[in-house]
Amino acid sequence: MGAVTRSLRVPAWVAGLVPLLLVAAAVAVFAALDAPGIGERVGPPVEELAVERTVLAPGSIELTLRNDGPDAVTVAQVVVNDAFAQFEGAAQPIGRLQTATVRVQQPWVEGEAYEVALVTASGGTVVHEIPAAVETPHADAGFFGLMALLGVYVGVIPVALGMLWLPWLRRIPPAWLRVLMALTIGLLAFLGVDAAFEGFELAAEGSQAFGGAALVLVGAGVAYLLLSGVSAWLSRRAAGASGTRLALLIATGIGLHNLGEGVAIGAAYSAGALALGAFLVVGFALHNTTEGLAIVAPIARQRTTLPRLAALGLLAGGPAVLGAWIGAGAYTPSIAALLFGFGAGAIVQVIITLLPSLRDDDGRVLHPGAVAGMLGGIGLMFATGLLVAA
């Protein structure tokens, strides 16, 4: 092979360029022949509008639309609950991937359901449901402060509380600790699956032009690779301190998960669903307490410092605050799907890293204790998850 290349005396860069030029030529010929076999599309235009954001103010419903389809879409009229409504905005056709905002004059009533149908110029309708109307909070400093408080309640505090198991963990036999590590894996597995499914559901709702469900997988892949890279880097720097490394990884994975959770909380608050109130926050908090346990399990046999523990707790819980801000301020289903995918990928990476630490004296990973621990972890998450779903 090498001999052939040499005999032609072609520089390497030319060899690399030739296929590229051939591809360009093929495309040019195809275009010059007016795309034979494809030609002009027949039939009515494909009209796809995704509603990316809904803002409710007294007497008005504002929708931010994105054109997901291949053709420009003109919003001709708006119908709210089977009645034509006055509105402004989106006066021009919306091009592919462009966004537009329509503000509908609608004397809506708190807590009631609304169906907003956008009638396009060809008579098609794009229907957007508002299951329970609640005024969208103003994104001022006070609001972001409230979101931060919520993030601390559901993220930082429960994780910190969970970490208080550390002194107890230090006194139990190694076999028990392995069971607790397995429990951690069970917890994480549950969270990972949960995050992935939530991501897929959100992706189906959002703009499909950005990849839809693929966004979740892309997010998961990116998180997995990033965490693997960080892990490899850490293992080189902190050889021997594998417990700390594991704790750091778990904290990071949980942190990314809590970022998604924060997005959910912020978005729910914007949508008014958090009117369900403290009950929900308490549910989330209990659910997250187990995450603190997961973080400290790997460092039960090691010395550590309070600042280090605090840092781990913040790493795991803090992103809930950031997520709540994103969810409340710049929420779109597509961004949320990506972030949930991110969380799921991070968790998968952490589980794979944790698995070797389950090995018992015989070198088995899935020994009875580990299996029991994992099942216990899944069960615990399921049970505390019911609190959220109550």
Binding site: Q86, Q105, G111, G123, L274, L276, A278
Partner: protein, 338 residues
Amino acid sequence: MAELTRRGLIAGGVPLVAAAGALVHGSAARGHAAQHGHAGAHGNGGHANFRDHVAVDHVANGFDPHELVRDFDWGTTRRLPTGRVLREWTLNAIDKEIEVMPGVKFAAWTYNGRIPGPTLRAREGERLRITFNNGSAHPHTIHFHGIHPAEMDGVPGIGAGQIEPGGSTVYEFDALPAGLHLYHCHVRPLAEHIAKGLYGAFIVDPEDGREDADELVMVMNGFDTNFDRANEVYAANTVGFAYMDRPITAKLGELVRVYIVNVLEYDLINSFHLHGNLFDYYPTGTSRTPAELTDTVMLCQGQRGIAEWRFAHPGQYMFHAHQSEFTELGWQGIFEVS
């Protein structure tokens, strides 16, 4: 109660609970009272609810609901050797895009390029001859309500049957009985052939005529623009809110006679309701004695009737379907009485 998951929360897919969760709910409780006030700033005085500053292009459509409401087509007449009057019309089926609400084009099938088709008007006992040319890309007929021989019924398989694209036929029968009828295409699928616009009013005046009046025709219809077999816009004479933006004028004390025809598809019934008055109602217009004095009548698909009244006070009086949904989706208008 619906299930509540984080996912459900994001969609907001949960009924609201007036939770005592003061922890998170405190600031959200502010400012709710204002939401109950109705937005008062309607661009056109709260009349039509279409987007502001947009209107149907009546010129492009080829007809204006305001002209159509008083447009009665008497056709052309000549005397037969027997001395009877022969009244003739030509109706052409034409496929045509019609703007049925501002900015929304509908691929319609029409008689003579308009929806509803011409209001054909004759006198009892005359001989009627309607030449039908099918210029549409689809087979059509004209099926007249009234009394006529079977082969003039305009249904597939009987007489001339369905008229293929490019084809023609002549429907000929006597103008019987006096009353308010309608005509429409009778090719299957029926709902589609009617809902796309192939219909019109058909009036047979009694031999001795009716009392002089300001006469109007209102064909109650609707358009399914997204093909889900439910209408997106409702109207009398095709364009929703047309008589809200520009009221129909009426004179104080003068007899008003409205020929009401319901050709609405995809909904079981339609109705006509008048504000500030009651009217004498003559179902199908076949009896000269009113069936009732009312302000609201209900009509099934294909049903029709004549309403007569005199305005006792000047001012603006609404008329509309008393199904609020139809009203809000376009079927409403105003009489301006002076």
